[in-house]
Amino acid sequence: MKALICIGHVPDTTSKIKFTDNDTKFDTADIKYIIGPYEELALTRLLDLRDAGTDMHITTVTVGTQETEPTIRKALAMGADDAVRVNAEASDNLFIAKQIAEVFKNGDYDIIITGKESIDYNGGQLEGMIAEFLNLPSVSGASKFDIEGDKILLEQEIEGGTLKLEASFPFVVSAGKGFCPEPEPRIPNMRGIMTARKKPLQVVEPVDQDAVTEIIKYHLPEPKPACKMIDPDNVEELVRLLHEEAKVI
């Protein structure tokens, strides 16, 4: 089986978010980048399945400039076999999805896996868009993922329960919590890092697709007024404030 896994290059979850150029650009100074947590979970799952005997070739794909290469190398060091980078600024979802669909068409992949959502732009869109460009079935935010022969067994959290699903290749899926049941973080060792340097990283140029969205300004949330402290021996005061001041009970 050949899997194409979409790796996003996102600010570390603890990053302090700031903007520059009159709040029109994300300030990348002092930002440490990581693999998006959901796609890291997905990659970990694929590696676990492979270790358990599923025959699998894992290719990563990232739409991004050269700056994203350390993140791509990290995925290779974790155990992916090779990588494709589409050499373009990732700034519009239809554009990104189109590029990934194109990479899929140009290889003989069986499945595309993305994370459920990126932790920077929180769109949760790429899986659906890629699948639609390719006219393939898909499942969003799978909470379980297994491969049995030519079948994919999935679970998805829905309103009021869990839905068990079955699909066949070719297929698109986005990974949510639970995708990898017991994720042991795959921290690349020295050997992994050394071999990752030699693994193929192919750079391709983007195909045309107009951008239809644009971020024109960022805002930080309004600073909250300081927390009002209430004496633990006077909890009635909290009840009063929640009722009269905050009006939430």
Partner: protein, 324 residues
Amino acid sequence: MAILIYTQNYDGKFKKSVFELVTYGAAVAKELGTEVTAVTTGKLDTETLKELGKYGAEKIITITNEELNDFSAQAYAYAIEQVAKKINADLIIFGNNPYGRAIAPRLSVKLNAGLAAGVTALPSSVSPFTVKKRVFSGKAFADVVIKSETKIITLNQNSYKVEENPVDISTEEFTAEIPEGAYAVKPIETVKSSGKMSVTDAEILVSGGRGLKGPENWGMIEEMAEILGAGTSCSRPVSDLDWRPHEEHVGQTGKVVAPNLYIAIGISGAIQHLAGVNGSKVMVVINTDPEAPFFEAADYGIIGDAFEVVPKLNEAFKKFKAEN
């Protein structure tokens, strides 16, 4: 400008989040001088459809195809695309929930329509069409311009106040053409969960963290939830340790919630936890450690031992509920 709202029904009933979408759509329509059409699926009785009219939907289209009884994003996208074209929709609104998130991106490709996901307010401008959306897991917001002729947004739950705005409705049934193969994902079975209020629907959440020491101590948390008509949620370690079910895990890697009131008990307030709850209107924190980061994000705080404070607070809530 015509506005189309996807109004999901659950077993023939609408939830409050749908009325929020319709209220929002009606407000945008007013600004644009146009009408709101709601689209839903299945066979609904007129009384139920009229509820949408109460919040401002003038026209309601019901897609009757039986194939849609099982959810398939592909099939739903086909059907909604046809409705959108039929009414010449230039703005299509979904809820930012699992259904909206599955259908909207596909529709975006079909209609070459820019999609802004996770919108939190009315458009700040209609030309160019500009909406505010949540980015960096709630640590910031962005103004997004959608440049395409057809525009799609998904609205975050609890970001717009539900308000009645009754109008007369006209209803119409619609049969979509859905090609075969749009069901390649086969549902095997649905396993129902505990039947408790889902964390994303709850208007009040009582949430417990590792500070509560063990699952046996959740009685007082559930009691508080019961008194307040609230849901219960938890931090990640708590669900990782199996003290609580996974569907209660909130945060960056769990569910993102935005209740009116979030009560955090024995939760430190790590940045990844806050990322899932910082959209709450009011946050209360109860923690023994005055240095816990949650106090910086909260509106009200009590420094104290949960095992002493919570039982007292439950009594106070009970007394309040009896009097109000």
